[in-house]
C-alpha cells in the first residue's frame, strides 16, 4: 500500500477501432484515460458492447490501441521493440472470459500452464514441471491431472487453469476479462475468492472487468463505469455505491435484482429503451438517448470529466 500513488499502468486517450462493413471504422473504445496504481484492483463495469473487452486487449497489445498511450512500469508499450515487448510480456498477463475458447483443446493442462515459461525459455523441463505442479496446487487443481486435456475439466476448473497460466510468470499486473460471468454462482464465489487469495499472495495489481456491478464492487478498490466506448464515472468502490453521480451508474445500480432487498427496486432511476448501435453512437453525450435526466445541452455537447470529489470523476453535464 505504500506505493499507492505510483501508477503501474497508465492509459491515456486510448482509442480502439474496428473495421466495419462499409470500410468505416467503429470506435469500440474512444478516448479513455485512467491509471491503475500499484497494489490496487480497478473494476471496469459496463454492459455488452461497451468496449471493455476491447480495452483489455488493447492494453495487452493484442494488438495495441489505434491511438493513445499505454504506459506500463513507466514504459510506453507502443515504443518498445518486438524483443523488448517480449521481455516485458511476462509481467502483465490476462485471464479470458471463455475458458473453453482460451485453452487449446489438444494440449494437456500441465503443458498449457508451462507454456509461458517455455516461451521465455530460461528453465529446464524438470524445473518447469515442478513449478507447474506447485502452481496447480496453489490454484486448487490436483497436480495428478497434469496430463489431462481441457475437456476433462469443468468450467470452474478451466478458469483455475487459466489463472495458473497467467500467474506462472509471476506478473505484476493481472487483467481479468469477465473471468466469472459464465460460471454458476457457487463456482463464481470460489473463483473470486481464489483471485483474492492470489492477489494477496503475489501482490498483484488487477484490472477486473465484468458486467456484474455486485461482483466488481466486491473485488475492487476503485470502479470505472463505461458506456458505449466512453468512461462515465470513476470512483472508489464504496463511494460509488454510496453516492454515484452519473445517471447511467444509478440506472445500473437500480437494475440489479437483489436477494436481500427484494422490495427496494427503485424504478425512477431506470434508463429507458435499447442500447444504441456502436456503429452510430448518439451525438453529444452517448447516454442521452436513454437518460432520464437528459437536457438540451446533452445533444450537442460531449461532457468532459468533472472531478466532484477527490478521486471521483464523472462525465455528465449535471456536474458542470
Amino acid at each position: 500500500m505504500k506505493n499507492k500513488n505510483r501508477p503501474l499502468l497508465e492509459l491515456s486517450n486510448i482509442v480502439v477501432e474496428f473495421n466495419a462493413d462499409h470500410g468505416e471504422k467503429i470506435h469500440a473504445v474512444s478516448d479513455i484515460s485512467f491509471a491503475i496504481f500499484k497494489g490496487e484492483t480497478l473494476g471496469l463495469v459496463g454492459e455488452s458492447g461497451c468496449g471493455k473487452s476491447s480495452l483489455a486487449r488493447a492494453v495487452m497489445q493484442l494488438p495495441g490501441p489505434a491511438s493513445g498511450k499505454v504506459t506500463f512500469c513507466s514504459k510506453d508499450l507502443a515504443q518498445l521493440s518486438k524483443k523488448e515487448l517480449l521481455k516485458i510480456r511476462p509481467r502483465f498477463q490476462m485471464v479470458f472470459q471463455d475458458s473453453v475458447s482460451a485453452l487449446n483443446p489438444k494440449r494437456s493442462v500441465g503443458k498449457t500452464i508451462a507454456m509461458p515459461l517455455k516461451v521465455t525459455g530460461n528453465l529446464s523441463k524438470n524445473e518447469r514441471h515442478t513449478l507447474v505442479e506447485k502452481m496447480m496446487s496453489k490454484v486448487g487443481l490436483d497436480s495428478e491431472l497434469f496430463n489431462n486435456k481441457p475437456h476433462q475439466f469443468s468450467g470452474g476448473q478451466c478458469q483455475r487453469i487459466q489463472i495458473a497460466r497467467a500467474l506462472i510468470t509471476e506478473p505484476e499486473l493481472l487483467i481479468c476479462d469477465e473471468p466469472v460471468s459464465s460460471l454458476d454462482v457457487s463456482i463464481q464465489a470460489q473463483i473470486i475468492n481464489l483471485l483474492e487469495t492470489m492477489r494477496k499472495q503475489y501482490d498483484l495489481t488487477m484490472l477486473f472487468i465484468s458486467h456484474d456491478l455486485a461482483v466488481v464492487k466486491n473485488i475492487s478498490d476503485r470502479i470505472a463505469v463505461m458506456y458505449l466506448g466512453k468512461l462515465c464515472e470513476i470512483a472508489p468502490s464504496e463511494q460509488l455505491y454510496q453516492s454515484c453521480a452519473h445517471p447511467y451508474t444509478s440506472a445500473l445500480f437500480s437494475a440489479i435484482p437483489r436477494v436481500n432487498h427484494p422490495q427496494a427496486f427503485p424504478k425512477l432511476q431506470r434508463c429507458i429503451g435499447e442500447l444504441p448501435s456502436p456503429t452510430a453512437p448518439p451525438s453529444g453525450c452517448r447516454f442521452r438517448t436513454r437518460c432520464p435526466k437528459v437536457k438540451e445541452q446533452c445533444v450537442f455537447e460531449e461532457p468532459k470529466l468533472y472531478e466532484i470529489s477527490p478521486g471521483h470523476t464523472v462525465a455528465c453535464h449535471l456536474f458542470q
Partner: protein, 295 residues
C-alpha cells in the same frame, strides 16, 4: 472415463471389416508379381468371355512351354480371354496409386495455402481464395480430360492433374478450420506470452486442424478412385494394355447383353473399395464428433 468403451469397440465391426478389405487390396496390389497369376495381358483365345470358374490351360498362353498348367479363371475371362482376377489385381495398382497419392498432394499444398489464408486473413486470404475459387470453377472432369488430352494419358500426369484439382477443396477446409480456431482466445493467450506466428501455426493450429483434414483426405481417396475410373471408362485413363477398373467396366459394357460378369466383377470390387474408404472416413468422423461433443 475408464469404463468407457475402447476405441476398438467405438469404431464398430464395420470399420474393421472395411479396413481389412483395404489392407487385402493393398497387399494384393503390392505383391501381384509374386502371385501365381498369368500376366495381365495374356490372352486365352480358347476362352473369351468365359464365365467364372472356367478351367483353361496355360499351354494356349505360352506355346513353348512343354508342360501345360491348368488354370482356373475364378472370376472368368474378359472378351479377349484375359483372366479377370489378374487384371483386377493389377488394376488395383492404378486405382490405389491415384487414390492414395493425389489426396496427399492436395493435403500438403491445400493445407498450407488454406492455413495461411485463414490465419492471416486480409489480402493474403483474398488472393489465395480467389485463385482457389478459379480452380474450383473449372468443371473438374472437363479440365481433367483437357489435361490428359494435352499432356498425354499416363499415370504420372493423371496423378498430378487430379492432385492439382483437389488442392482448392483442401484449402477451403483448412481455411475454415483455421478461421474457427484462430478466433479462439487460446491463440491470443499464446500471443500474450510472446509466441510468434510460425510457432502459433505449428503448435496451436496444426494439432487442431490435422485430424479433420486427414478425415477429409480419406473421403477424397474414394472420389479419386471414382474419378480415375471415370477417365479410364471414357478411354482417357492409363493407356492399354495396363488394366484399370474403369477400363474393364467399359469393356464389359459392350457384352452386357450376353454376359454380365465381365463388368460385374470390376464394378463390385470398385464399389467395395470405395465403400470401405467412405465407411472408414465416416466412422472416424463420428468418433471425432463424439469427442468434440465432450468439450
Amino acid at each position: 472415463m475408464d469404463n468407457s468403451p475402447s476405441i476398438f469397440e467405438k469404431l464398430g465391426i464395420t470399420f474393421w471389416l472395411c479396413l481389412m478389405w483395404i489392407v487385402l487390396v493393398v497387399l494384393l496390389a503390392l505383391f501381384a508379381d509374386l502371385l501365381p497369376l498369368p500376366g495381365a495381358d495374356v490372352m486365352d483365345w480358347d476362352h473369351p468371355a468365359a464365365p467364372p470358374g472356367t478351367v483353361g490351360t496355360l499351354q494356349s498362353l505360352i506355346a513353348s512351354d512343354a508342360n501345360p498348367t491348368e488354370i482356373v479363371y475364378f472370376f472368368g475371362t474378359d472378351t479377349m480371354g484375359r483372366d479377370i482376377l489378374t487384371r483386377l489385381i493389377y488394376g488395383a495398382r492404378v486405382s490405389l496409386a491415384v487414390g492414395l497419392i493425389t489426396p496427399l498432394i492436395g493435403l500438403f499444398f491445400g493445407g498450407i495455402l488454406g492455413m495461411l489464408a485463414g490465419f492471416y486473413k486480409g489480402r493474403v486470404e483474398t488472393i489465395i481464395m480467389a485463385v482457389m475459387d478459379s480452380i474450383l470453377a473449372f468443371p473438374g472432369l472437363v479440365l481433367l480430360l483437357a489435361i490428359t488430352f494435352f499432356l498425354g494419358p499416363d499415370l504420372k500426369n493423371i496423378i498430378i492433374s487430379l492432385g492439382f484439382l483437389t488442392i482448392p477443396s483442401f484449402a477451403r477446409i483448412a481455411r475454415a478450420n483455421t478461421l474457427t480456431y484462430s478466433q479462439r482466445d487460446f491463440i491470443q493467450a499464446s500471443r500474450m506470452v510472446g509466441q510468434n506466428d510460425l510457432s502459433i501455426i505449428i503448435h496451436e493450429i496444426i494439432p487442431n486442424i490435422f485430424t479433420p483434414m486427414l478425415i477429409y483426405a480419406l473421403l477424397v481417396v474414394s472420389y479419386m478412385i471414382v474419378a480415375e475410373g471415370s477417365l479410364s471408362f471414357l478411354g482417357l485413363g492409363v493407356p492399354s494394355p495396363t488394366p484399370s477398373w474403369g477400363g474393364m467396366i467399359a469393356e464389359g459394357k459392350e457384352v452386357l447383353e450376353e454376359t454380365t460378369h465381365v463388368s460385374l466383377f470390376p464394378a463390385l470390387i470398385m464399389f467395395l473399395t470405395v465403400l470401405s474408404f467412405n465407411l472408414i472416413g465416416d466412422s472416424l468422423r463420428n468418433l471425432l464428433d463424439a469427442r468434440g461433443g465432450q468439450l
